[in-house]
Amino acid sequence: MKILVGYKRVVDYNVRIQVKPDGSGVETSGVKLSANPFDDIALEEALRLREKGIASEVVVATIAPADAQAHLRNGLAMGANRAIHLVTNDAIQPLTAARAFLKLIEKEQPQIVILGKQAIDDDCNQTGQMLAALWNRPQATFASKVEVNGGAAKVTREVDAGLETIEVDLPAVITTDLRLNEPRFIKLPDIMKAKSKPLETLQLADLGIASGDTLKTMNYAAPAKRSKGVMVKDAAELVAALKTKGLL
């Protein structure tokens, strides 16, 4: 069984995001870029399924500018067998990403596609669901546990009401939540090994997909700040302050 993993490069989660003063975007020049944390979890889950003997091959794919090869090498160093780089300079939107991944599915015929539930840059939380719809296959989103048994997977999902378990026939799309697993650290010898693993490069424009990038971002703004409040010295003062505000 082959597993295809979406592996997006984003601004590292530790970077303090600054909106540019002219509202044209956020400051990304010179900031550290890393794999989307949810995608690291997606890759880890795929690797574990391979280690259990359920999957035989793990392919990581990204849609990114030409300089993202090192990012894919990271995915290979973590343990993926192969990588596919769909090259574009545009920051594409989820519908386009889903259409591009559908092309990869047609080419690779994976039984499971694992994506992060959302990317921590645009926070859309759409691509996996859109891909499953276009593929006309099941989706198991926000997964915190995945069990594959033959032609189906039992997936426990983190939902607002608690933990929901669904069963999906394969092939299917799974999107990861935070508590699915803890991604492994990359070891130095694996970085060396990754250099010789296959990395295929395709131009996104050559896939022949229609762009779904129909949303126009007009402006970027910093969020409204909450102003700093008052400090109280003990529980009695706290209760008094809450009473003053009419909250008790």
């Binding site: 645009d122 983190e158 970027y220 409040g229 400090m231 302050a241």
Partner: protein, 313 residues
């Protein structure tokens, strides 16, 4: 002319308040019609609740045994069939809507606007990105149906007082069997619901253990509050994941939010930025939570909480 279809969220035969919050958002779009679609096995009682929301034009129901559980793959083709003639399809930005709406959008071949926090005009909205560290204004094409999810914490629930007609729909949509509900393990429902509660008491890593979390539950019960937790507390196994407040958990807007032993990581603050009054209790006076707290108290939570309970009488 805007005609809006809102996908009702419900569980165990009860309408979720997220639906009335979507109605508020729809009203901001200045729609000519706001219809609510209830997909369920037995939609009547749910539809009756939706019909009472002020501002709703019409409630549409689709009764089908396959709709007993909210499976996106099953709901989506029905919504696509029902969406003909509508300019907008809205769903709440809860796990229900986040799972479902993109599947609907993709079937319709359109983009989706996620997490609408304000409406500028019928096709222009603001939404947060980078965990709420930036707010973008985004414009969708006016010549396509617009699918969006509504960040429920940013919208007050539309009040009751309506009496919309209820109409049963029969849709011809082929429903898949490749996705099957197995079970839902729900947390305790004795306490107020975290997403709609007026008061929330949350504990963080500073609480120290699952056993110690009893002190948070006790204070919450005294205040009639729901209980929440930081990601650190959930990751450490103190409480189940459905209590998590923050960017990747629940985004809430209670009148009173008490953060106890929570340092205030940005992703947690994103989940409470619309709260009325934030109270922080933490032993570290430098914790970032104090930057956003309306009332801060530095000290040992295990000493302060019992004093607080005593002071509450």
């Amino acid at each position: 002319m805007s005609k809006i279809l809102i996908i009702a969220e419900h569980l165990n035969g009860k309408l979720n308040s997220s639906t009335a919050r979507c109605v508020s958002c729809a009203q901001a779009i200045k729609a000519d019609a706001i219809d609510v679609l209830v997909l369920a096995d037995a939609p009547d009682a749910i539809a009756a609740e939706a019909a009472k929301i002020a501002g709703v034009t019409k409630v549409l129901t689709v009764a089908n045994a396959a709709n007993q559980h909210a499976l996106a793959a099953v709901y989506a083709p029905q919504i696509v069939a029902a969406a003909a003639g509508y300019s907008h399809v809205l769903a709440p930005s809860t796990t229900f809507g986040k799972d479902l709406a993109p599947r609907v959008a993709a079937l319709l071949g359109v983009a989706q606007v996620s997490d609408v926090i304000s409406v500028i005009d019928a096709h222009t909205f603001t939404r947060p990105i980078y965990a709420g560290n930036a707010i973008i204004t985004v414009q969708a094409p006016a010549d396509q149906v617009l699918v969006a999810t509504v960040r429920t914490a940013s919208w007050a629930a539309a009040a009751d007082g309506g009496s919309a007609p209820v109409e049963a729909l029969s849709l011809s949509a082929e429903l898949p069997t490749h996705t099957r509900f197995v079970e839902l393990a729900q947390g305790s429902s004795e306490r107020p619901d975290l997403q709609s509660a007026g008061r929330v008491v949350s504990g963080g890593r500073g609480v120290g253990s699952a056993e110690n979390f009893a002190i948070i539950f006790k204070l919450a019960d005294k205040l009639g509050a729901a209980v929440g937790a930081s990601r650190a507390a959930v990751d450490a196994g103190y409480v189940p994941s459905d209590l998590q407040v923050g960017q990747t958990g629940k985004i809430i807007a209670p009148e009173l939010y008490m953060a106890i032993g929570i340092s205030g990581a940005i992703q947690h603050l994103t989940g409470i930025k619309d709260a009325g009054t934030i109270v922080a209790i933490n032993k570290d006076g430098e914790a970032p939570i104090f930057e956003v707290a309306d009332i801060g108290l530095v000290g040992d939570l295990f000493k302060i909480i019992p004093e607080l309970e005593a002071a509450l009488g």
